[in-house]
Symmetry: D2
Subunit: 303 residues, 4 copies
């Protein structure tokens, strides 16, 4: 297995079938530095406009449609002392009658303490004087080229992954994406230092990271929606609106997974999920919302 | 403060402006035994048909429209050795194309070990031989008479509470409901021994409980949607379809709460929620879905 | 068949199992004068507050759960020279980002010319100087007592009918409601002189009418959602959010109707609907939205 | 103005920033023959697989981001004696509980009488023996390259147009698309001989056409969503799920149009739309649903 340091010479605002910027072998590790969601690098130099510039595409040898691309997020190291958020919850997460009562949203800066691994608002806000957040890094947007040669804005997401903004997609997590193009064509970017459920202000704490991932091909493991795993849980991800539909996608994918890998037919899986499933909201800000269907590994025995 | 043992002589399938079965003073404690969701009591005698028969209404002296009724769930003691669930996830939680692949759902029984406080399927299911669940009791359906003299089926929910099926509504939790009728007219029932997020098989483990609650009136504390508190968190609850709208209700209510009780204006509340909010799915089975907006108390200082 | 002139001595803001104000025989005709949506009568005297005060309940002899109540809307005669609307589209019918750009909505009056059968804004509005609308009367809110003894706000709707705000429910139309209580317990009110699709300002032109309806019982004709018929079309009505779900209810009901009354199995009905169905938006303002599934009678032969 | 006969040598399953197949001047007319949705040509030869192969892209000189591309649909002449539909309504348009009762959907053929301009099922279906439909041709999928260099599947739609499946998009209609790429890059295909609202069997009567369109650039006419016009109406189109959101997009776009071109501010536009708007369902089958907001020209005077 080789380790590659990938320094893009250009960035993309779409995930799609574009000319590979890097070729790697199955199982290789990639270290790369991401821009923030607005296209600024670790030195605060604007390199491209938003949304969510991507590093990639990375062509993984051997990946073909019908396979899965396994992405292990090994490390995420913040590379800048500042991050930004938007200042006000999005209009679509409050009752329509309450939209008018929201102030205008603006860009707000955070100080990131890379030694203490904390973040705090750069300017004091009344009532939040003591608001210091431990960093909880995650990748906001990543995935593989979608089907049919599509190229899709990094503002949104789909079966191929994309801008899912799901908190659990951080260091230690493994994610599988359905391969639709030769070489999978992996992209990543838009990393967050911290983010609440739903990304309801339209951002996490957006900053730059050095990210290390390992990419492997799982041949003939055909999945429809992204799947993932942490030390504690397995989960599936649905991306759609309304949340109801995202939840349907995620639940259907979990039923398939429980059957093929854990030997649970629909009834057994229903007994399990009915009493122990957890649903997590990824984002409710992007054009497609994200819902994860999660099950603690403590209930599962892979066969 | 008095403690009342409330033995209903009839049960209701609606929550509404009905003749009070019990009058209590502000701050009184009520101990009552609930039927299961299908109307069976602790001796497995069917007392009424479903859905979700209610004990109530309880008239709380001093409660008037514009006030809140505070409900402290003090204890929930299971009173039967059996519970039931439905056997298959509901059609509305999977992709429409996958509905056809679901087996027919049927009633399935569980053994409840009231000493060990665990539950397991009464009949073995392949792959779930070791599936023993710790009890996590919760009230599926409770609330107060809705506005306008309405009486609403216990199959659904609304601003008045009702069939929310939210996991955190168990012993130790406190819930506030908006009072719309004199005396509040509190109802409860439909308790679950365990339930996953979403109540996606259409039930938790449905059984009978002895429930102890304390009811208090908070004068002039006008709220729109139910609010709650556990040892760790505060939360607000929205009930509607799609989930997107339930989430809007809950988020709007949380913004109001953070402003009045915690001194956080919309911007400060946005900074807080944006990075630390958690959304929990109550149910995605009933006519109205339920979403909770939850914040860890560790971030909050009540003023 | 008898004709009754029904003068309510009280009005209701709910539709439910309340004491009958009038008993009629199967096939009787009722003439009654309705208040406007805000509770004002034809003399502009406020008789009750909103929402949508109802005349009723009318107990129809012989109607039992499992039957349908057939409501023929025979005539609707406006009884006042004024109507009102709200002045601005509701926040929920525009993109959330556009809510802030809407002016505050206020009550606006219209002059109704009962001879010419037209309506126009009482105060001139720039750009609408020539805006004179032909009256197109319709009943905004009507239906029968819902199941389980419920009493549901006239702000919303359900299987029992209610506040559907569908343009085609005017003179000449026939509507069937599913009976859930003995005597059906029919209510009506909230009539509109004109209304666009969706009732997107939150009102039609709200005024008072003298309405004549004939009520008949169709024994053992069990339906789930309201059905209707005009000179040209048959239609079914679904009430829910999101519109997607309202559409599902209406389409499912139409498939049942086409099978039982027109001899079209699911495939034949699909061929028909696939190429000729029309969907009409009733309202997208109330808590439950309304969608009608409509088929021209020219394609149908009742068997 | 030149007239071009455009014979593609390849077809696309996406709409996006691809190499132009034809360059035309502002105002030119294009005559082109489309494949059916499954990629069969007028001789029933399969030329490409689905979904919805497109003729294009056509580069229109002078079109730049911020402009609108005006598409006049001049004629649509069917070029084959057969069409196809799917045989059963889609699972997502009925209640989840009713999905199981639907037969399996299969491809069904129709005979198209190009002299009489009618279509009928090739194989008799019980109850539909006399079911002969007048042709009502329309373009199912057309539009311009979306923003950011995206290329999006012709199975879906967005601000750029795409697979909207809206009945009114036929001969005589004019449509405007927001230009996001130099030359606009226009695509079209997927024409239907007939289609009901919602495209609820997943197809109209899919066949091949010779289509004539005129393409013109309207400089600096910046729109967000597609707009259209027939002899009788103007309309705006929103593409999204749920239908509620599609309706929001369409309504917001109509408010903008009424202001800039008809001099109606938000209040005047609200008075107009509130009482006369019509909403039409395009499709409720594709990943993005389509809703049109339509106003009769009889109410409007362009300033």
């Amino acid at each position: 297995m080789t380790s590659h340091r990938f320094v893009p010479d250009r960035y993309y605002n779409v995930i799609g079938s574009l000319p590979p910027a890097l070729h790697v072998a199955d199982g290789d590790t990639i270290i790369t530095e991401t821009l923030d969601a607005a296209g600024y690098d670790k030195d605060d130099v604007n390199r491209i406009s938003g949304p969510n510039p991507m590093n990639g595409p990375i062509f993984v040898e051997g990946a073909e449609p019908g396979d899965s691309l396994k992405v292990e997020i090994l490390t995420m190291v913040p590379t800048r002392d500042t991050g930004f958020t938007r200042s006000v919850v999005a209009g679509n997460v409050v009752d329509p009658r309450d939209v008018r009562g929201l102030p205008e949203s603006r860009k707000v800066f955070w100080d990131i303490d890379r030694k203490a691994l904390t973040a705090r608002l750069a300017e004091p806000v009344s009532g939040l004087e003591a608001f210091t957040l431990p960093l909880a890094p995650m990748i906001g947007c990543f995935g593989v080229a979608p089907s049919l040669g599509q190229a899709i804005s990094t503002a949104t997401s789909g079966e191929f992954g994309g801008n899912m903004d799901y908190r659990l997609l951080g260091p230690g997590a493994t994610v599988w994406f359905p391969v639709s193009a030769s070489g999978a064509l992996f992209f990543l970017g838009d990393c967050h230092a911290v983010q609440g459920d739903g990304e309801i202000v339209g951002t996490g704490i957006e900053t730059t990271f050095e990210v290390t991932v390992r990419l492997s091909v799982e041949k003939k493991r055909t999945i429809i929606w992204p799947r993932g795993e942490t030390a504690d849980d397995i989960f599936t991800i649905g991306n759609a609106r309304p949340l109801d539909q995202a939840l349907q996608h995620a639940t259907s994918e979990m039923l398939r997974w429980l059957e093929t890998d854990y030997g649970l037919d629909r009834t057994a899986a229903s007994h399990l999920l009915g009493q122990v499933v957890r649903y997590d909201v990824g984002n409710v800000f992007d054009p497609a919302y994200t819902m994860a269907c999660r099950v603690s590994k403590s209930w599962l025995k892979r066969r």
